[in-house]
């Protein structure tokens, strides 16, 4: 049998991407040995001394990793739940409307925050939260209340962060679900109406099931990423205020600070490795879970 020639041309077309992925995704994977080193910038990854698990020991005994992980998990859970409910409810409401122009305007307004970077968003929210000039304190003052030092009161921040996260993300989610609904034949809903179904029954038994596959996929993605925090949201919006760390310091900001401010690359790498490993297991788990629910809605 004649052997096929080596596919040079196709390989060459794939090569640039291959090299870039090798360098920027796979090389850093070997860099995780840093987590087991007392890393020294002068000596580099190859020359730094190995110190076993002491970086991890430090993370666990000081308790730092527990608190940032807990913050990351519960705030992400809060964002996932509010985001999912918010987007689906808005998509359902939007679907009830008929005016094409109005729908377009609402969609554009809902989705614009998605195109603003977190840095620009942080500027926008300063105008509300600035303790001296911010509009929130003015309103509180007008109502006879006491001004709040927003950037040093951790208690309010889970709520503020959830609201800001919703502001930025809900539009895109709504657009996505709306696009799914727009692809469904109107006949389904008309048949339900003829059968005498109420609006809520129609939504529950007909409309929502159309959204389940999309909801499942987005949920898997979200659960798989639950140990990863949105760095910009947690770093820029609270203005990196130390007083807020108890509720705004997440794994990603912790790793960043350990690397840049505390100059502890070994420890930062250890925290990053823990995050990557847990995230890896979670994606696999979430996918297996999705496969059990419905064979067709898995991610891979």
């Amino acid at each position: 049998m004649k052997r096929k020639p080596f596919p040079w041309e196709l390989t060459l077309l794939a090569l640039p991407a291959l090299v870039l992925v090798l360098v920027f995704a796979y090389l850093p994977m070997f860099g995780i040995v840093m987590a087991f080193q007392n890393f020294d910038y002068q000596k580099g990854v190859l020359g730094s001394p190995f110190v076993g698990l002491s970086n991890f020991e430090f993370l666990f005994t000081t308790g730092a990793i527990w608190s940032v992980t807990a913050t990351t998990l519960w705030l992400n859970l809060l964002f996932i739940v509010t985001g999912l409910i918010g987007s689906v409810v808005l998509a359902l409401l939007l679907y009830e409307l008929t005016g094409k122009k109005a729908i377009k305007v609402y969609q554009t307004v809902l989705v614009y925050p998605n195109f603003m970077s977190w840095i620009i968003a942080s500027f926008m929210f300063v105008t509300f939260l600035n303790p001296r000039y911010g509009m929130l304190n003015q309103m509180i003052g007008a109502l006879g209340g006491e001004a709040v030092a927003w950037y040093s009161e951790p208690a309010y921040w889970p709520f503020i962060l959830a609201l800001v996260s919703l502001w930025k993300g809900v539009g895109m989610g709504c657009l996505l679900y709306y696009a799914v609904l727009a692809g469904v034949e109107r006949d389904y809903f008309e048949a339900a109406a003829i059968d005498g179904a109420t609006k809520l029954q129609t939504i529950r038994h007909i409309t929502l099931p159309f959204l389940y596959p999309t909801m499942t996929i987005l949920l898997i993605l979200a659960v798989g990423g639950i140990v990863r925090a949105d760095f910009g949201l947690f770093y820029f919006v609270p203005q990196d205020s130390k007083a807020l760390y108890p509720v705004t310091d997440v794994v990603d900001t912790y790793v960043f600070r350990a690397l840049r401010n505390m100059n502890e690359p070994g420890m930062a790498a250890a925290a990053g490795l823990l995050q990557s490993s847990v995230g890896f297991l979670l994606v696999l788990g979430a996918n297996a879970w999705a496969r059990r629910i419905d064979r067709d809605t898995t991610l891979f």
Binding site: P7, P28, M135
Partner: protein, 294 residues
């Protein structure tokens, strides 16, 4: 089936109120940029509607445009070069992956896909770019790490696969090489999909602050987003470099710090605010196509 008129009216009312709430942060930035600090202090804070309009902040920036122009230049250069290179490289690998007769298709797919599941984390990546490659304060650091996006590769591959294989085979019969087939046969047919990833990539480069935050220290290499971030904390330093204060400001010696800050924010966000409504549909497409298993 449509809801009753009353229901629809109340839903409209709801969306109008919600839209106003969503716009509130933007409106307050605009208003603040148009007010003077004296006024802000006199009124006790920022307001949603200023009692009088001042363009001092914009005048000041207009006379001292170098910083923001420099940042614009960096951002535009990064966005244009980054997007062009990224689309070219992504199209190449997506075509190879789309060819079912490519021998290493499965392996290559997995090689790319695995990076979506596991990463070495920030620290080794930082050491690689900053130390091993020594790319601090260079355009390379702002462009190269973001060139390949595996999500976009799969999006484009799925799209290329829908193109009938006969098109490729007949081109081959005519003796066309793979490069020619990609650029003469595939690209013209798949223009909408390529436009989608081009738009996604361009927006990502334009709004990127992460690479700047990690690798840029020199002020004149700062992209727009980084300049803004530095302004949030160092507005006084930036203002002190500004000359040619408008007369009214020189007399009262009142530099409109808050207004300048917000005006800069708007000048940076402006192009995005005007551009995104035209490209909105690409983003929805990117999400829906990408969310289908490939």
């Amino acid at each position: 089936m449509h809801s009753s008129r009353l229901t629809r009216l109340s839903i409209h009312a709801f969306f109008v109120l919600l839209s106003l709430a969503m716009l509130l942060p933007l409106i307050s930035v605009i208003t603040t940029s148009l007010s003077s600090d004296v006024e802000i202090i006199r009124q006790g804070g920022y307001t949603l509607w200023p009692t009088s309009f001042h363009f001092d902040a914009y005048a000041l920036i207009w006379k001292n445009p170098f910083q923001i122009l420099g940042a614009y230049q960096v951002t535009i250069l990064v966005t244009v070069i980054g997007t062009a290179v990224s689309v070219l490289i992504t199209a190449g690998v997506a075509y190879t992956l789309a060819r079912r007769d490519y021998r290493f298709r499965k392996g290559l797919s997995f090689f790319l896909f695995f990076t979506m599941l596991f990463s070495g984390g920030l620290v080794p990546f930082y050491i690689l770019v900053a130390q091993v490659l020594n790319w601090r304060d260079t355009y390379f650091a702002l462009i190269v790490p973001a060139v390949v996006n595996v999500w976009n590769i799969f999006l484009l591959r799925t799209n290329f696969q829908r193109i009938p294989i006969e098109l490729i085979e007949s081109a081959k019969m005519d003796g066309a090489r793979e490069f020619t087939i990609l650029f003469r046969v595939i690209v013209p047919v798949a223009t909408p999909a390529i436009a989608t990833i081009a738009v996604l990539t361009a927006f990502a480069y334009w709004n990127d602050w992460w690479l700047g935050l990690l690798f840029i220290n020199k002020p004149d290499m700062a992209p727009l987003q980084l300049l803004l971030r530095n302004m949030l904390s160092n507005i006084e330093i930036i203002l002190s470099r500004m000359r040619d204060m408008p007369l009214s400001l020189r007399v009262t010696n009142q530099v409109p710090t808050e207004a300048v800050r917000m005006a800069m924010c708007l000048i940076a966000a402006g192009p995005m605010l005007f551009a995104f409504p035209f490209f909105q549909k690409y983003f929805v497409k990117g999400l829906t196509v990408g969310a289908v298993k490939g």
